[in-house]
Symmetry: C2
Subunit: 230 residues, 2 copies
């Protein structure tokens, strides 16, 4: 086996607690709406919206802009609310400053001592940069979807990071709490690590299953750092 | 005037002392050759090589690969030396680990408290990532030429960073010790700061001239941090 040189972290759910952060901002922006449920409904439109971009049904758009369009539609169609531009701006910005899981910032610092530690996310670079500053994530490099104009699970994203880092795909370890992200990474020749985040969806229970094809299975980023000898 | 939000630093010469770093590696790799002179000759082929890529005379190539081709040619044509692949690899790698100027790492940390602080360099991302880890440069984001497949002073680089950061060009301050880089940035609507680095070329004296169109003129990165109130 080749040596792992680069770690690539999914961000929403794996490194940050979007449910808590987004729910809090929705609650203050749209009083009277069930903010936790609205956060779930919004997030459930995430993968389909990205898939529509990848299939060509929708033109290329940054995650910020997709988030805005989707929230606007959910509020109008399901809640009869015509949100103002300011309300939508405020809600979309919530994703820039969602809190990290408590183990994240420290684990990134530990992992950096032995690996090149990167974000590899469907967020856009500006969003991820603000998220990193807000949470003290000292990424060595931020891989946002706008670098490639593709969304995971498109192979261009996984292979694009390996190319930028000038390493072979099997020298990159993709780290995520989503089996679909890891399966796609393996399809491109990357290695994979699953992180348990049972509270990702808030009150909605998330089953954590062990996938034998994952080289690592960790209960958190601190556990992953332990397993990687950092 | 709009508020400055993003700082974009040239790296070779502005943030790092390439002459010292490259001379040391050349001295150990090619004993008997005047390493300081070879470093200067190599660096003097840098701008022409990049311009040949931008003009279409040469196909796109990463800086690592351009460095290699140019050094190989200089050694063969001027010194009658057929360098081995290992010698060339070792010399090219010198640019990844050139030392920062003594004020650089601390100034980046100070500036990060108020600005998004990025590298905007003709180096490729992998090279700049290694340079950052080696020197403790805590960039918020690394803008390498391979993100745009263009070399400064091409406008795609300056405008590409502003686009990724989702700011207007006049919200970006380009920082460099090279007047040509700053002039091109101004041509794209960026604001500019000149940093004096009189020892950039080692023993070859470098005149530092004040350009009234630069919004800032600083004696170093620490002075720039002072002037920016960090």
């Amino acid at each position: 086996m080749s040596r792992i040189k680069v770690l690539a972290f999914d961000t929403f759910g794996t490194v940050t607690d979007w449910h808590t952060g987004v729910t809090a901002v929705l609650a203050e922006t749209f009083p009277g709406v069930d903010a936790a449920q609205l956060a779930l409904a919004w997030r459930l439109r995430y993968s389909p919206a990205l898939a529509e971009v990848e299939s060509g049904e929708r033109p290329w758009a940054l995650l910020d802009d997709l988030h805005r369009t989707e929230l606007d539609a959910i509020l109008r169609d399901r809640h009869g609310i015509e949100a103002s531009a300011e309300q939508l701006d405020h809600a979309v910005h919530a994703w820039h400053v969602i809190p990290g899981w408590p183990d994240a910032a420290d684990a990134i610092r530990r992992l950096k001592t032995r690996y090149v530690v990167t974000a590899l996310s469907n967020g856009n670079v500006a969003l991820l940069t603000e998220m990193a500053k807000h949470n003290g994530f000292d990424w060595d490099f931020i891989g946002g979807a706008d670098l490639w104009r593709h969304y995971k699970p498109a192979p261009q994203v996984y292979l694009g990071l390996a190319e930028l880092m000038r390493v072979r795909p099997d020298e990159v370890l993709m780290v995520a709490t989503h089996a679909s992200d890891l399966a796609a990474a393996r399809g491109c020749g990357l290695r994979t690590a699953y992180i348990e985040r049972p509270r990702e969806w808030g009150p909605m229970a998330k089953p954590e299953q062990r996938e034998p094809l994952d080289e690592f299975h960790a209960t958190g980023m601190d556990d992953l750092a332990d397993q990687l000898g950092c």
